[in-house]
């Protein structure tokens, strides 16, 4: 195993004074923490710790699933919640593992960085005494120029070369350690990018109803659900947006094939301008990106009360997740039946309709599931309620759902159910009417700002490039010694002789510093290049194969 042989040994300074036990303990713990073994254990722990996050529902991914889990396992869920199982990737245990790992990482790369910078500036080491001990070794007639010529040959092949008298040392493949360090450093930068994003980033989701009534301006209050990093200031970038047109196309199977949202954007300080965006091509504004996440219908429901006043509800109906866009929603009229003359309101005459909207209703009942996402046979199934909607109680309720508590305690009563086609109306028992006027569209937006993404991108490039350098480059050394004429006989090379009549020989040796199965071949090529047949002719290749076959691969 040579892969780690050039790792600096732990600096074993000779203890001049008596070692302080606390310091010794600290130093030992630090050495433990920054060892490869510890890194391995932590990596393994990290992999294991990520599993619960994929098995249990996560708030960040799907909060409804967490709620369902709570109802399914009312005993277990709170216990799991206490250990952060529903936010596994932000939990104490997960963070502890990766923070330890990154501490270990930094502790590991800092000394290596220092050593590598030193190695980059240092000349390759002196030629060892006994070259024949190296894995690759060959003796050949010296080329015309001696050591200088050999050095030149190596330099041309981009080796780093130093000539010391009759000896040449050369090294290549520094990029391996460089790549490795870039890779590990990039990992730290990834973490910094993630941290930046979570401190200074924010995002919010919002429904945007088409038309001028639906205009949305980017403030904190405008978001139904928003998540702001702890370092986000009070003002979000200012812009307003109106949905002008939404185009969705589908295959006969109901699978979507095309989305496009046309909007008018009014960025602070500029003139309103048209813009378009879609799935996969978000709208990139100054300081925020707008993503298209979903879409649905807004049934327009007009209610005419006892006094002849009409009001129209245009609240989005939320899709239920099926391919046919079956949607549910609520049309609430808390201000219905207010006597226009006296201004007196009867809180028990409020009206609401909970509804199911089927863009393409089946031909036969039951009318519970839409068959296709476009409006080919639109049908609105309404249940009417009258009584106290409970909106004045100050308990915030969802605008998309009826407050069922009011039904249960009898303050709100169901007064009938009816299916309406577009344009149809329904007269209730008290003579008031409700009409299904038509539909509008809405889209679901995610508005986001993440200042860390650029850093993530840059570090990702570093990650991949560094990894390639680290895994594909091999570090290796070549040593050459020009032997003075006639010395070969004494050094015990029977074949050395004096092939060119008393001229000198060179001894060439190679040392792969990391695992390098192809080193023998490379060495053979180098030898033939030094010998002078640049093209690596037959002779060179032949001896190369021999050398390769006989040589041990890798150093001791």
């Amino acid at each position: 195993m040579t892969a780690v042989d050039d790792r600096p040994a732990a600096p074993a300074e000779a203890p001049r004074r008596r070692p302080n036990p606390v310091l010794a303990l600290l130093r030992n713990s630090w050495r433990q923490l920054t060892s490869m073994r510890t890194a391995l254990v932590l990596l393994f722990l990290l992999a294991v710790a990520a599993i619960p996050g994929s098995v249990l529902p996560q708030r960040g991914v799907n909060p409804e699933d967490v709620r369902d889990f709570y109802t399914a396992y009312p005993e277990l869920a709170p216990m799991l919640d206490r250990v952060g199982a529903f936010e596994a990737f932000g939990s104490v245990w997960f963070s502890a593992i990766y923070l330890l790992l990154f501490t270990s990482l930094i502790g590991c790369i800092t000394p290596r960085l220092r050593d590598h910078v030193r190695a980059l500036r240092a000349a390759p080491p002196a030629v060892p005494k006994r070259l024949e001990r190296l894995p690759q070794h060959e003796v050949l007639p010296a080329p015309a120029g001696g050591a200088a010529a050999v050095a030149e040959t190596l330099r041309r092949r981009r080796w780093r070369v130093v000539v010391r008298g009759d000896e040449v040392s050369a090294e290549k493949g520094y990029l391996k350690e460089t790549g490795n360090l870039i890779f590990h450093t990039s990992m730290v930068v990834v973490l910094v990018g993630v941290a930046l994003g979570s401190w200074y980033g924010w995002h919010g989701n919002r429904l945007l109803v088409a038309g001028p009534d639906g205009v949305f301006c980017n403030t904190r209050q405008q978001y139904a659900e928003a998540k702001l990093g702890p370092r986000v200031g009070d003002d979000l970038p200012r812009f307003c947006m109106q949905l002008d047109e939404f185009d969705a196309r589908f295959l006969p199977s109901g699978q979507p094939s095309y989305f496009n949202a046309k909007v008018t954007v009014d960025e602070y300080g500029g003139a309103p301008r048209p813009a378009e965006f879609s799935v996969n091509s978000p709208l990139r504004l100054d300081g925020a990106n707008v993503y298209l996440l979903g879409h649905g219908y807004v049934p327009l429901i007009r209610y005419t009360d006892r006094f002849g006043n009409t009001q129209t509800s245009n609240l989005p109906f939320l899709t239920t997740g099926d391919i046919g866009l079956t949607s549910e929603g609520l049309a609430a009229f808390p201000d219905a039946n207010v006597n226009p003359d006296t201004g007196e309101r009867d809180p028990n005459l409020q009206v609401a309709f909970s509804g199911l909207y089927l863009p393409t209703a089946p031909q036969q009942p039951p009318f519970t599931r839409s068959e296709y996402p476009t409006e080919q046979n639109p049908l609105l199934d309404l249940i009417a309620y009258r009584g106290n909607l409970g909106l004045d109680a100050g308990i915030p309720g969802s605008v998309y759902q009826l407050d069922q508590r009011q039904v249960r305690n009898g303050r709100l009563t169901e007064i009938g159910q009816k299916q309406l086609r577009m344009g149809e109306s329904w007269t209730l028992d008290d003579g008031t009417t409700v009409e299904f006027v038509g539909t509008g569209r809405y889209i679901v937006l995610s508005v986001r700002h993440d200042p860390g993404t650029m850093l993530l991108l840059v570090s990702s490039v570093g990650l991949v490039l560094g990894l390639m350098g680290s895994l594909f480059v091999r570090r290796r050394r070549i040593f050459v010694r020009v032997l003075p004429a006639g010395s070969a006989d004494g050094s015990g090379y029977p074949d050395g002789g004096s092939p060119t009549g008393g001229s000198s020989l060179v001894e060439v040796a190679g040392l792969p510093r990391t695992e390098h199965p192809g080193f023998a071949a490379e060495f053979a090529q180098l030898v033939s290049a030094i010998r002078g047949d640049e093209r690596g002719g037959e002779a060179g290749a032949g001896s190369g194969v021999e050398a390769g076959a006989g040589a041990r691969e890798g150093a001791e």
Partner: protein, 331 residues
Amino acid sequence: MSALSDQVVSIATMVYLLAMISHAVEYALGNARAKVVAAPARELVGAAVGGGATGVTGSVGGAGSAAVTAAQTGAERTARRAELAGRIAVVMTALGAALHLVGLVTRGLAADRMPWGNMYEFVLTVSFIGAAAWLVVLVKMPSLRRLGLFLNLVMALLLATAELVLYTPIVPLVPALNSYWFIVHVSTIVFASGLFLLGVVPAMAYLMRAGYEQGKRSFPYTLAKRLPAAAGLERLTFVLHAFSFPVFTFAVIAGAIWAEAAWGRPWGWDPKETWAFISWVVYAGYLHARATPSVKRNVTAWLAILGFLTVLMNLFGVNIFFEGLHSYGGL
């Protein structure tokens, strides 16, 4: 075109199965020969060592030599048969891979897009990469041929699962998948997964061979009798993983870039993403462990296998068990 693709894939599955059977025959014959030779070899050590059998047998005696010659010709015949079975197996594997490719191309033509829009197509492509890479390895290292038994077993299993469990009719991509980064992401994921799949073969072979070399003679280790030396298998495992890990890293990053455009965040710990992370960490652990002198090579080989299990979990398990944004699984 779509029906043609389905048929060709079925045939390819059968061909892989036949290749596997041929490999099994090769094994069986190889072991039979080993038994026949083993008995007389104890008395006639020379026969095995010296090339000239006649000279050696002459010195031992008539009766023995006759038995040996008979055994040897019988053994040679079996050896030749084993060799033939092995060659047939390789040809079958190549034929299977060719049909496999035809199945993929026709599927892509029928759908008018790259054939990786759902899990069926995904598994089809991953396994093809594995088979093609295997053939490349085989050209470079013919001595690994016997590993084909495992490879073809895995291929037949994957294709059969794809056809029986995952099959989905052709549909175009949903808009979310219609992106360049998606193509880059999926093609590289497929490529890396195929190589990881291939990398498991020498890893398992290494474990068996290493056990065999340590003198273990119980069931799985005996299979390794004729495998190349453990050290070479181990190095091959490393080379394959060292090559596919950067590809996989790039693929995950491409996925993050695409997810940023499609969903607004590069990383959201969706189950698919989580398992990709797990695989990445496990493979990083493998490379790390291999670079750590104090970790035994057996452990690293197991890490490679564990890594592939997590890849499989992502391919199958996540689509089947969990619900996430990567809902194109088509199940």
